[in-house]
Amino acid sequence: MNEKWIDTNTFHHSEFKDIGRLVAAKNEKNLSISLCLPTLNEERTIAKEIVIMKSELMTRYPLLDEIVVIDSGSTDDTRKIARSYGVTVYQADDILPQMEKFKGKGENLWKALYVTRGDIIIYIDADIKNIHHRFAYGLLGPLLLGDRIRFTKAFYDRPIAIGQNKLRPTGGGRVTELVTRPLFSMFMPDMTQFLQPLSGEYAGYRSIFEKIPFHIGYGVETGMLIDIHRKWGLDVMAQVDLDRRVHKNQDTKALGRMAFVIIKTFLNRMETLERMRIQQQIHDEMIQYQLVRERLKPENYLLEQHERPPMIEIPEYRQKFTRTAAGAKVPL
């Protein structure tokens, strides 16, 4: 196990708070940067994320070149509010419409590759209550100030909001500690150095993201880490401490379904990597029980595994983008 990685490739956002320096590095490398916000019914948080990122990292400092919202079909005012602040908003189903349609965060991230134009893409969840521009510049810092790092992932303290005006100071990351970390410890101990492998905030070069498959749902983070590790190794990856992140709480049953998908994604990858042979069919249904009138009733959730192929394999994408001399991609 490469135990040094956690020392050499772990950063704190404050190391990159000189945003002028990041802009200079970006210009020197002739790069463009896209911020993608995947949404589903985020009318309470989306505007704040857009406003802060736009004012601090576009208007005041030209660090971001575009902010793009990819929506999974919100039934609230998410899209209307986002548009009112002048960012580009897409419905995921409208992107590459000839392809089979799926719903999920991973689907939005994958389709963002097709509609954004940045050489670097930064993904930030849209449900963060304490959003701050450090979430973006912290993740971009290692990518811009060095030549080695190609992918960065966030970690943080994670208090969770429990109802009106109440915060629980510890918690969050339960699926990480109960599922992902044990699995990584058993099969890929190097990866245990990622303190929050399931965090929803990460950034990387297009040249990385376009070459890996995207799980369409909760498995996207797990699959992404394993795939980048397998293709380019741990040294191109880094993690950045973003301090505190306050987000919505999820009940245990919802976390159970999330764990189901993550375990399935992990097992799928292990099989693909020929590290494991599973000798029976893995079922797609998560069965949970609920007490109804003093009787336990099963609730079956169909959690199918769908994965998008590397975007570079999609002909429309290859037609839209061409390679420059520097290796970066720009739209035609």
Binding site: E43, R44, T45, A47, K48, I50, V51, I52, K54, S55, E56, T59, R60, D77, K80, I81, S84, Y85, K129, N130, H132, A161, Q164, N165, K166, L167, V246
Partner: protein, 385 residues
């Protein structure tokens, strides 16, 4: 002379163009809790923001007030102050995360006075976008310890220590747009606490009930005769006490405010309340105590003072109706010190001191446009007497 009025449409247009910066400042500053006496973190954030926006001098003074100075071009001119009090009524542990939509910003303390503080932080950038420079130094200050027991100590101390002349001041309040305050009533705020001594809590018959004792105090206050002239009012605005439904209350309190056009009348009524408290103390044999929390003298800028006329004209040009009431804010401290000043409101809002406090974004554009217009006029001497 009417340059500042003619510039208003441009100001409104340009300010709307940078609304994201203004909203960001409101959110980033306002999400830091700042109950009175615990404003340090918010003060540091504000000074950092002012510094990032290239304010010439940024400092937290010895008393904890964050201050930014935009240096003027004329050495001889006195400074013009823009003030928005930093502290809020909300508690440290409340969830201060704000929500923003296309129309509103909501969250604890946003309407008193976090939106105004966020606007204060944005002023250097607003002046830059409007291509405005001034002969006077513009002093941006968010005084600490303004509310309740703070008794406006932050601004009192700052003015006492300020080394140079001051031409005038604009005090900013988040709400309501159209507010134009240029006088303050004489005021004393007090609390009356009643508590039953431990030895009387042993369950014997006729244990005094603190709530009933406080009720006697209220009835006695309501019996005071108040003159119609000078205009005088006593407001009992806070009450608490007791433990649960079935227990005799061992403690109770009320908070009140005496307001009048006359300093003398306020002092006399406070003295009457003091006598009431003394009398009840003796008749009920309980511990009942009166404390003065804050006080202000009556101050006035004449309604035909050039600064007031100028502010009225600006509101009229913006098609906003002016509402003139007395205000017990930093305004009264400036006026006490002989400095012409007014308080203006920046936008519309609801639920000022409750959960669900919110302000509207679009009206804020007009509200903010008042500031550069007023500064232009004041800087050119249009508001000097």
């Amino acid at each position: 002379m009417e340059d500042y009025l003619n510039a208003l449409p441009t100001f409104v247009h340009q300010i709307r163009k940078i609304r994201e910066i203004i909203i960001s400042n409101i959110v980033l500053v306002g999400q830091i809790p700042a109950p009175t006496f615990q404003e340090r973190r918010r003060a540091e954030c504000l000074v950092e923001r002012l510094s990032e926006f290239n304010t010439d001098e940024c400092v937290i003074d010895d008393y904890g007030n964050p201050v930014g100075v935009l240096r003027g071009t004329g050495k001889e001119k006195g400074a013009i102050f823009i003030v928005a009090h930093l502290d809020t009524f909300s508690k440290l542990e409340a969830d201060h995360h704000y929500e923003v939509t296309d129309k509103i910003i909501s969250g604890v303390g946003v309407s008193d006075n976090s939106a105004a503080v966020g606007v204060l932080a944005s002023l250097p950038e607003i002046f830059k976008q409007l291509d405005l420079t001034f002969e006077s130094d513009i002093v941006l200050v968010a005084p600490v310890q303004s509310l309740g027991k703070g008794n406006l100590r932050g601004i009192r101390r700052l003015l006492r220590a300020w080394p140079g002349p001051i031409r005038g001041a604009i005090c900013l309040e988040s709400v309501e747009l159209g507010r134009l305050n240029y006088y303050s009533s004489a005021m004393i705020r007090g609390v009356i606490n009643c508590s039953i001594a431990a030895e009387k809590q042993l369950g014997r018959h006729h244990t005094p009930n603190a709530i009933l004792v406080i009720n006697e105090v209220i009835n006695a206050i309501l019996g005071l005769r108040l003159p119609q002239k000078p205009r005088t009012q006593i407001v009992i605005g806070k009450i608490s006490g007791g433990f649960n439904h079935g227990k005799i209350a061992y403690d109770a309190m009320i908070g009140f405010e005496i307001r009048s056009d006359s300093d003398e009348m306020v002092r006399e009524l406070y003295s009457d309340i003091h006598d009431i408290v003394d009398g009840i103390n003796k008749s009920f044999a309980v511990e009942i105590k009166l404390d003065r929390i804050s006080n202000l003298n009556a101050t006035l800028l004449q309604h035909n003072h050039p600064l007031v006329k100028c502010a009225s004209r600006i509101l009229r040009r913006l098609e906003v109706e002016a509402v003139c009431d007395p205000s017990e804010t930093a305004l009264s401290i400036f006026l006490q010190n002989g400095i012409p000043s007014i308080t203006i409101g920046l936008t519309l809002g609801e639920n000022f001191h409750q959960d669900g406090a919110m302000i509207e974004i679009e009206p804020m554009v007009k509200g903010i446009a008042q500031i550069p217009a007023l500064l232009m006029a004041m800087d050119k001497g249009a508001c000097d007497e």
